[in-house]
Amino acid sequence: MTETDHSRRQFVNRLAKSLLGLSVIPRPAFAAVPGAKSTADHVIFLYMSGGMSHLDTFDLRPDNKEIQGPVTGIKTKVPGTHVTGHLPLIAGQMDKIAQIRSMSHTQGNHEPGSYHVRTGYDIGSGVIAHPALGAWITKLAPRLTAAMPPYIRVGDLGGHPSNGFFPASFSPLPVSSAKAGLQNSGLREGFDRATFQESLDLVSTFDRKFRQRHAGSAQVAAYAELYTEAVRLMSSEDLDGFDIAREPAEVREAYGGPQSPFGQGCLLARRLIERGSRFVEVDLGGWDTHTDNHTEVAKQCSAMDRPIATLLTDLADRGLLERTLVVVSTEFGRSPEIDQYGGRNHNPFGYTNLLAGGGVIGGAVYGKSDPSGKGVSENPVKARDFNATIAHALGIDYLQMETPGSGGQFFSIGGKDTDPDKGKPIAALFG
C-alpha cells in the first residue's frame, strides 16, 4: 500500500465516521498494555479551577514565614505529613492520599493551562482539537455497563476540551448541576408512563417506512437505537443514579448539604461510578486568589474539605475506593510572593496534585518543590506523566496512538512514543 493510498483510506474512514455518527462505530478492543494489571476501574476527577495554591494547602513552608504568611499546618493521619489547618477533615484522610508535589509545566494562563493539564497538549491550532483525558479513557477502555453513560461531567462544557478530535460520543455527558440531575430525563407534564410508552411506540410505527427505506443506513439505525437507549435510561434504575435526592439526608449532609454544590457533585459522582460510569468530573471553582489570597484560600479549603474527606470515607466504606481512583488536579499552583493586594499570582512551574484509591499508595509523597516554592527540585512530573499515571492505573496503554485523520498526525495520552519527552506513569505510587 502506498502512502497516498494510506492517507486516502484514512480520509475515507474519517469521512465515514463523520457521516455515521458515533454509536455505530465498533468500539475498539480494550487498548490494554499486554500483561499489565489494572488497579482501578473508575476515575473521579476533581478539578480545582483557577489554580489551587499548593503553598497554602498541601506543600507548606513552615520554616519560611515570608512565603507562608499566616497559614499554620496541622498533623495528619500520616506521621510527618502536615496540611493547612483549614483542611482538618482531609488531614484525617491523608493515609488514603498520595501527593505529587512536583507537578510542572509552562502554561501560565488559565485557558492554556487548563487545556494543557486536561489534554497533555498545548492549545493552539485552529485545525486540531485534542481530547480531554476522560475522552481518551472512554475511547480506550470498554464500557462497564450498557445503560450507564461512561463519561459524565458535573458542570458545563464551556472551555473544556471535551472529545477533541474524537467523535462526539466520547464527549462527557454534561449534568449542569448535581441538584438538577440529568436534563430532560423526566416526563413532560401531561404524560404519564403509560401514555409516554404508547406515544413512543407510535413514533416507531410512524417512522417504520422511513427506517425500512433506509435500512442500509447505519445512521438511521443509530437514531432508532438511541431512542431505545434513551428510554432505557429514562426508565432504568440507573437514572436514579443521577438523583442525589434519593440519598438519605444524613449522607447528603455529610457531603456538605445543599449549600455545597461541590459536595453534591462529589456525592453524585459516587452514585454514578457505583452504577458503572468510568470517568466522572466535578469542578470546584474560585481558586484564582489574586486578591487576599489567605482569606480566599481559607474559604476554598472549607469548600473542599468536607466533600473530599466524606467522598474518601464513603468510597472506602462501600468497598469502592480500592477500584476507584480519586484525582485532585488544577491548572497550576500559585507564586510564593504575596503582592500588594495580598494575592498570589499564577505559578505553573511547580505545584501539587493528589491521587487517592485505585491502587495508589496512600500517604505517599512523590517529588519535591524547590525551597522557593516556585519550581521543582526532585522528580518533576509533567501533565502527560500525570495523565499516563491515571491511564496506567486503569490498565490502559497510554501510548496507544490515535489520529484525527489529517496531515498524518498521531497523538496519545503520553505523547509520541518515539519522543524522548513522552509521558511515563509514576510507578513509585503503586504497590
Binding site: 502506498t2 485545525v127 486540531i128 464551556g158 430532560n184
Partner: protein, 740 residues
C-alpha cells in the same frame, strides 16, 4: 528525509508508445516517459529531489545535461534488473521497457533538445484544457446535464446505477434545507406542491437563492468554516460577521471576498474584513494553518513540529511559507492607539485607577471598577489594527526545529509550499498583495479546486476530491474527470457560488434518492446525494417555523456603531477618555446593552438557555444568536460546535438530543395558542386537513393512505391535545432529523 522514501512506491502502467521514425520530440515523446517513471523522486516540486536531480523544468534538464550528463543517465537505465543502481529502482517499476530506452537513446543521440519546453505542469496543477475558454455556465440546464454525464460515467465504471428520481415533496424539503437552512412553512409547502408550473424546481432554487433565509443559512455555513466566534472580546467579530453577511447577501464572488480579507488593512471601523486576521491575533501560526487549510486545501499543521511523514512538506517548508504569508501583522503596540494623547500618560491614569480599585477591594458591582474595566477593554480594542509589512521579510528557523541540517535562527527565504514563487520585490506592491495574488490567482488551481469541491460536498454530502481542507490530487480522485470539470465550472461561474450551487441542485444526480453515508466511502460514485442528519442550526431553525410566524432575519444587518471607539481614539487627554468611558457605562446601563448593560440579561438568558434555548426573547434563527451558543443550549446539544476548529460541528446521535426532543420544553412553545403552528391549524375541525398540515409542518409532505389511517387513530377524539400529540410523534421520528 523520510518523506522521499514514501513517494517511491506507485505502480506504473506504461502507456503504448509511438515509435518515432522522425526526430524525437521532447514534449510528446520523452516527457511522458519521465512523468510516468521519474517525477515521483526527481521533480522540482520535491524540496530535495533524489540525488539532487530533477527532470521537470528546462533549468533542471540543463543541469542534468551538464552533470551527470545524459549518457550517464542512460547507463543507469540499462543496468541489469538486479543491480542496486538501476533506475527506476526495481521496486518502483524499473527497468524501463526496451522501446522506452530506445526512444531515450535516440533523443540523446539527436542532441537531447527540449524545444520550447519551460516547465512541466503536474497533473494536479492543470485543469482540463478542453473546456477552458468556453462558457459552460451560462445555460444552467446544460451545465447540470454535463455533470450528470460525468457522474454517470463514474457510476458505469463501477457497475452502479443512478438512484430513482425524488418526488416533488422530497425536493421541496431538500431545497429548503439546503438553501434556506430550514423546513418550509405549511404555506410555503402548499404553494410549491400545488403549483403546476413547468420547471418549478428550478424556479424554487432560484427564488430561495435570493431569499433572506439564504443569507441566514449561509452565514452559519461560513461562520463554521472561518471559526467566527461572536463572543470573543472586542467588537470586531460583530463587524466581521456584518461583512460576511453583506458579502453573502450581495453574492460577492468568492475569490473577491477572500482577496478582500487577505489584503485587509486598517482598523475595524475602516475595514471590517480585518476580522479575518484578528481572529487569530493571539496565535498567528493557528491563523496561518487555518488559512492554508481553508483556502489552499493543504493541511500543514504537522509540519510545524516535524517533516510531513507522507507528503513532500518539510518543517522548513512550513516556516518558509509562513514567511511568505505573514505579510500582515496585527498592530499590538500602543504607539498609535490615540491620535494626539500620550499613551504613557493615559496608561498611568489606568494603573492608578486600577490600583485604587484593587486596594479598595472593589468588585464588578462597583461603578469605579466597572469604569476601569470598560476603559481597559476599549483601550485594548483601539490597538486592533492590521498593516501590511513594507516588505516580505521571510522567517527564521525556530528553536523547535528538530533536524540538524540548518542552524537555529538561520534566515529562511519566503517561499510558497507549492506552485511557482512569485516575484517578491515587485516595486510598489505590498507583500500581502503579492501573497494574495499567488494564493487566489488563476495559476493556483488548488484555490479553485478547493471551493468547487467544498460546494460539491455541501450539496451532495461527500466530496469528489477529498476533504476540502486537505485535498487529494487529481490522480487520487475516484472521478478525476468530474473533479476537474467542477473546477472548470467554478471558473466559468467566476466564483459565483449561488450560480454554482444552483447548477448542482439542478442535476439529476442531486434530485435522486439518497445513498447511505457508509457506501460513499467505498467508491465516491454519486448514485444520489448522501443521506445526512440536519445540522444543529437546520433543526433549530426548522422548529422555529412552528413557533414564530416570521423567522428569517433581514439579510442586511445594521452596521455596528463605532462612534465610541472613534471618540476615544480622538481623546486629547486621559480625563476626556475616562469621562467618555463613564458616559458609555451610563449608556450601557440605560439601554441594557454592552458589557455591563447586557450583562444582567445575558447572565439571565444564559441560565435559561443553558437549560434549553427555548425562551421567548431568544427564539430567533441561529445566525442571530451568539456564535457559538452557550453550553446546554439546544444548538450545542445538537452539535453546533465551538467554532474553535474549522467546521467543528458534529452530527452524531446522542442521548441528550433524544431526551430534549422527547421531554424538552420546546414542546411547550410549540403548543402555545400563539404559536405559528397553532395559528395554521386553526380550529382543527377538519381532521384530515389538520393532519395534512401537521405533516407539511414537520416532514414537508402529505401523509400516504396508511399514515392517514394511523394519524386518524391517534387523533380520533379530535381534541387539540391529540393533534399536538401527533406533532410530537412526528418531531421524534428519524425522518424529521434527517435530510430526505
Amino acid at each position: 528525509m523520510t518523506f522521499l522514501c514514501a513517494l517511491i512506491s506507485l505502480n506504473f502502467t506504461v502507456v503504448g508508445l509511438i515509435v518515432a521514425a522522425d526526430a524525437v520530440e521532447f514534449e510528446s515523446h520523452i516527457l511522458p516517459i519521465l512523468e510516468k517513471n521519474c517525477f515521483e523522486c526527481h521533480s522540482s516540486r520535491i524540496k530535495k529531489p533524489k540525488g539532487g536531480v530533477s527532470f521537470d523544468s528546462a533549468a533542471a534538464l540543463a543541469e542534468v545535461a551538464a552533470d551527470p550528463e545524459w549518457k550517464a543517465v542512460l547507463e543507469l537505465l540499462k543496468l541489469p534488473a538486479g543491480d542496486d543502481d538501476l533506475m527506476p529502482p526495481a521496486d518502483d517499476g524499473g527497468p524501463l521497457k526496451q522501446d522506452e530506452i530506445a526512444l531515450l537513446e535516440k533523443w540523446v543521440s539527436e542532441g537531447a533538445g527540449i524545444g520550447g519546453f519551460v516547465a512541466h505542469r503536474h497533473s494536479d496543477e492543470k485543469l482540463n484544457s478542453g473546456l477552458g475558454g468556453k462558457d459552460i455556465a451560462t445555460d444552467i440546464a446544460a451545465a447540470a446535464a454535463e455533470i450528470d454525464r460525468l457522474v454517470e460515467t463514474g457510476l458505469e465504471k463501477r457497475g452502479l446505477k443512478r438512484n430513482p428520481e425524488i418526488d416533488e415533496a422530497t425536493f421541496l424539503r431538500r431545497a429548503y434545507l439546503e438553501l434556506a437552512g430550514r423546513n418550509p412553512t405549511v404555506i410555503e409547502a402548499e404553494t410549491f406542491l400545488k403549483s403546476s408550473t413547468p420547471g418549478k424546481r428550478a424556479s424554487l432554487v432560484e427564488s430561495l437563492s435570493n431569499s433572506d433565509a439564504y443569507v441566514s443559512h449561509h452565514l452559519n455555513y461560513w461562520t463554521k468554516v472561518l471559526r467566527v466566534q461572536s463572543k470573543q472580546d472586542g467588537n470586531e467579530k460583530e463587524a466581521w460577521l456584518g461583512y460576511l453577511r453583506e458579502s453573502i447577501a450581495s453574492n460577492k464572488p468568492y475569490d473577491k471576498w477572500v482577496r478582500e480579507m487577505l489584503t485587509s488593512e486598517g482598523r475595524v471601523w475602516e475595514n471590517p474584513a480585518i476580522g479575518f486576521y484578528l481572529r487569530d491575533n493571539k496565535n498567528r501560526l493557528a491563523g496561518y494553518e487555518a488559512m492554508t487549510s481553508v483556502f489552499l486545501g493543504t493541511d500543514i499543521g504537522c509540519a510545524q513540529c516535524h517533516d510531513h511523514p507522507s507528503e513532500p512538506l518539510s518543517q522548513l517548508d512550513y516556516f518558509k511559507m509562513y514567511g511568505f504569508y505573514s505579510a500582515s501583522h496585527p498592530y499590538n503596540g500602543t504607539q498609535d492607539r490615540f491620535l494626539t494623547m500620550d499613551d504613557k500618560a493615559f496608561m498611568e491614569t489606568y494603573h492608578q485607577r486600577q490600583d485604587e480599585a484593587r486596594t479598595k477591594r472593589l468588585t464588578q458591582r462597583d461603578r469605579e471598577q466597572q469604569i476601569v474595566l470598560l476603559g481597559y477593554l476599549a483601550g485594548a480594542d483601539l490597538k486592533q489594527k492590521i498593516t501590511s509589512r513594507p516588505e516580505t521579510t521571510g522567517s527564521r528557523v525556530p528553536k523547535s526545529y528538530r533536524y540538524d541540517d540548518i542552524e537555529h535562527n538561520a534566515y529562511l527565504p519566503p517561499e510558497p509550499i507549492f506552485g511557482e514563487a512569485p516575484e517578491l520585490a515587485k516595486v510598489g506592491q505590498k507583500p500581502m498583495v503579492v501573497f494574495t495574488e499567488w494564493a487566489t490567482g488563476p495559476q493556483n488551481l488548488k484555490f479553485t479546486h478547493v471551493i468547487a469541491n467544498r460546494i460539491w460536498l455541501k450539496i451532495m454530502g461527500a466530496p469528489v476530491l477529498g476533504p476540502p481542507t486537505d485535498l487529494l490530487t487529481l490522480e487520487d480522485a475516484k472521478n478525476a474527470d468530474l473533479a476537474d470539470h467542477l473546477a472548470e465550472l467554478m471558473l466559468a461561474c467566476a466564483y459565483d457560488l449561488k450560480r454554482f450551487q444552483a447548477i448542482l441542485m439542478n442535476t439529476r444526480t442531486y434530485q435522486s434518492e439518497t445513498i447511505p453515508a457508509e457506501t460513499i466511502g467505498a467508491d465516491f460514485a454519486f448514485a444520489g446525494p448522501v443521506l445526512r442528519r440536519l445540522s444543529a442550526e437546520q433543526i433549530w431553525d426548522s422548529l422555529l417555523t412552528l413557533i414564530r410566524e416570521e423567522v428569517d432575519p433581514p439579510s442586511v444587518a445594521p452596521q455596528p456603531d463605532f462612534s465610541y471607539s472613534v471618540a476615544l481614539r480622538n481623546a486629547t487627554s486621559p480625563d476626556e477618555y475616562w469621562s467618555l468611558v463613564g458616559r458609555e457605562l451610563d449608556r450601557q446601563l440605560e439601554t441594557h446593552t454592552g458589557y455591563f448593560g447586557a450583562r444582567g440579561d445575558t447572565i439571565r438568558s444564559e441560565v435559561k438557555t443553558a437549560r434549553q434555548g427555548f425562551d421567548g426573547d431568544f427564539l430567533v434563527r441561529a445566525s442571530e444568536l451568539n456564535s457559538p451558543a452557550p453550553d446546554g443550549h439546544f444548538l450545542q446539544v445538537f452539535g453546533q460546535g465551538k467554532r474553535a476548529v474549522i467546521e467543528d460541528q458534529w452530527d452524531a446521535a446522542t442521548i441528550p438530543q433524544t431526551l430534549m426532543l422527547l421531554n424538552g420544553n420546546l414542546h411547550d412553545e410549540i403548543a402555545q395558542p400563539g404559536s405559528a403552528i397553532s395559528h395554521v391549524l386553526g380550529n382543527m375541525e377538519d381532521s384530515a386537513a389538520t393532519i395534512e398540515r401537521i405533516y407539511l409542518a414537520t416532514l414537508a409532505r402529505i401523509p400516504d393512505a396508511e399514515e392517514l389511517v394511523l394519524a386518524r387513530r391517534v387523533t380520533a377524539d379530535g381534541s387539540r391535545e391529540s393533534f399536538f400529540r401527533l406533532l410530537w410523534i412526528l418531531l421524534n421520528t428519524t425522518e424529521y432529523v434527517l435530510q430526505p
